[in-house]
């Protein structure tokens, strides 16, 4: 069973506020799921490399020029969805 303190730490890393009941619930869920996936230990992967892309092709490059210009109204519509704005910026709570 994963330590409850560890679950709390994960919730902090994931920036998720969870109730004590939810934390306990996830403690149980995660422990069970990790037991289940633990079967992978039995597979010999000593000579295998990880899959980074399913249908791997060489790095696709393009010239470093503007590929698209976002329409002004689209930019405004994007910024408009932010909770707080000021002077054309998105406003956030104090960082420091």
């Amino acid at each position: 069973m994963i330590d409850l303190e560890h679950i709390k730490k994960l919730a902090t890393l994931a920036r998720l506020e969870l109730t004590p009941k939810e934390l306990e619930g996830f403690q149980g869920d995660l422990s069970r799921i990790l037991d289940y996936v633990g079967k992978l230990e039995n597979v010999d992967t000593s000579n295998v490399s990880a899959t980074l892309h399913a249908t791997a092709t060489p790095n696709v490059l393009r010239p470093d020029t503007d590929a698209i210009s976002t329409p002004e109204d689209a930019i405004e519509r994007m910024l408009d969805q932010a909770p707080e704005r000021k002077d054309g910026y998105i406003k956030v709570k104090a960082v420091l």
Binding site: L10, E22, Y36, L40, A50, T51, R77, K93
Partner: protein, 476 residues
């Protein structure tokens, strides 16, 4: 004539012959939606103004002899695919009021193809689930049996097509989310080869596994939609240039993986699978037993890789730039940390939070090698099993069930997350290897649809269409 029950092919013929107009077809579908959808719940948003505008334009083009296959054809779009200026929620409270600021590439292509967008369909929240029960916004019922789930996560799209509330639909598939609901609802569902269809404008779930694909009434329709949405896209860094597809030969060798069939199955399911195999053999195809020795590790691999990628992809929903945010409440003071953790805690449903937590764990310091990296290595081994089957065991395609059984009842699998995960046992290996696969209705069990899968080598969707059509021919 009930034009809402037409296929793309038949509807397009009807439009060409001026038997009805696209505007008429669109209006008939909205009429049908008004009649049925309060019960089925497939749609979250209807885009009537847009649809009628598109339909009118299509009618003008058809009058000028436009013969393109999707002109004037009304489609439903899963709500994790962005349609400019239309609400896109991913069935989450996090994005309940989010308006898409641009079109997904597939949407741009479909607009150019003259298609009509009826609306956005319900899904499991952020595509996490196999029943659409995880939607935070609405319940969708299987049109074939209203006490049962439509499958997930593209349950709304499957129900819209099966319920004749759209001629066809788009869904997305990360571990089976197109194929499984297609199987449960009695429609066709295609997951293309990874990289063949652009993911630009698809809200990312697991970036190395996601693909957009069609849900349709026939295999021919799936082929039509696939050909319209496929293509290299500079806006999707994982997009590949697919090699030219070779038309499938006449008689194919179909691999039957013993690992998919050597465990107990309900008699009715086993019987239908046997009958399907016999029908394929009667058509001249050869069935050959093969082995995919590591395929039984697929779910474990998936439930490590997918949550890891989910935890990274959903980090963007932080209450800062869009979506649910406690910062919208300007009265109540909050710290930056609270904006993140409360907005996310409130905006995300339980399964989403569960998978983010799991993903955070497997990527965290001290666990990354044992879990995530290990899973990516086993992924290579599973992919090699498929490669070996196609290249060395002489099979052109692989046959499998789509699901362990027919659509289950609401609430049957919700108490234990693992039991829900096991629904994906036949579909997940396909995403892990990046292969194309199609689910085709094979028949019914107790009047409920049951689908079977064909899996083809990378970039061989033509083989899937050939086999799918062959299966359809045995059922007509």
């Amino acid at each position: 004539m009930n034009i809402t029950s037409l296929t793309i092919t038949k509807a397009r013929e009807g439009l060409a012959k001026k038997e009805f107009s696209s505007v008429e077809l669109t209006k008939e579908l909205y009429k049908h939606i008004a009649e049925r959808d309060s019960e089925i719940g497939a749609y979250l948003t209807l885009t009537k103004d847009l649809a009628l505008e598109q339909a009118a334009k299509a009618d003008t083009n058809i009058a000028k002899n436009d013969t393109a296959p999707l002109t004037g054809i009304p489609l439903a779009i899963k709500d994790n695919i962005l349609v400019d200026k239309i609400r896109a929620t991913a069935s989450s409270k996090m994005l309940e009021n989010y308006i898409a600021p641009y079109d997904a590439t597939v949407i741009t292509k479909l607009r150019e193809a003259g298609a009509v967008f009826l609306g956005k369909t319900n899904m499991d929240e952020f595509a996490m689930g196999s029943s659409t029960e995880n939607s935070a916004l609405k319940k969708t019922k299987n049109p074939r049996d209203l006490t049962r789930v439509p499958g997930g996560s593209s349950g709304g799209s499957a129900a819209a097509v099966a319920g004749d509330m759209a001629i066809a639909a788009l869904g997305s598939d990360t571990g089976g989310s197109i194929r499984q609901p297609a199987g449960f609802c009695g429609v066709v569902g295609l997951k293309p080869t990874y990289g063949t269809v652009s993911r630009y404008g698809l809200m990312a779930m697991a970036s190395s596994l996601d693909q957009i694909g069609p849900l349709t009434k026939t295999v021919e329709d799936a082929e039509t939609v696939f050909n319209s949405i496929r293509g290299t896209d500079p806006f999707d860094a994982t997009s590949v240039t697919a090699p030219q597809q070779i038309a499938a030969q006449k008689n194919l060798t179909i691999g039957i993986p013993k690992e998919f069939f050597d465990h107990p199955m309900r008699t009715e399911v086993a019987d239908l699978l046997t009958k399907t195999k016999e029908n394929l053999a009667k058509l001249g195809h050869t069935l050959k037993e093969i082995s995919l020795p590591h395929v039984s590790y697929s779910l474990e691999v998936y439930y490590l890789i997918m949550p890891a990628e989910v935890s990274a992809n959903l980090a963007r929903y932080d209450g800062i730039r869009y979506g649910h945010s406690i910062a919208r409440d300007t009265e109540t003071p909050a710290t930056l940390g609270e904006v993140y953790s409360k907005s996310r805690g409130q905006g995300f449903g339980k399964e989403v939070r569960r998978r983010i937590m799991l993903g955070t764990y497997v990527l965290s310091h001290g666990y990354y090698e044992a879990y995530y990296l290990k899973a990516q290595k086993v992924r290579t081994i599973i992919t090699n099993d498929f490669k070996h089957a196609f290249e060395n065991q002489g099979v052109d395609a692989i046959f499998a069930p789509t699901t362990p059984d027919v659509a289950f009842k609401f609430g049957e699998k919700t108490s234990d997350p693992l039991s829900m995960y096991l629904e994906d046992i036949y579909t997940v290996p396909v995403n892990i290897a990046g292969l194309p696969a199609i689910s085709v209705p094979a028949g019914t069990i107790d009047n409920l649809p049951f689908g079977v899968q064909f899996i083809a080598p990378w970039f061989s969707e033509t083989t899937l269409f050939a086999l799918g059509k062959a299966l359809e021919s045995t059922r007509s």
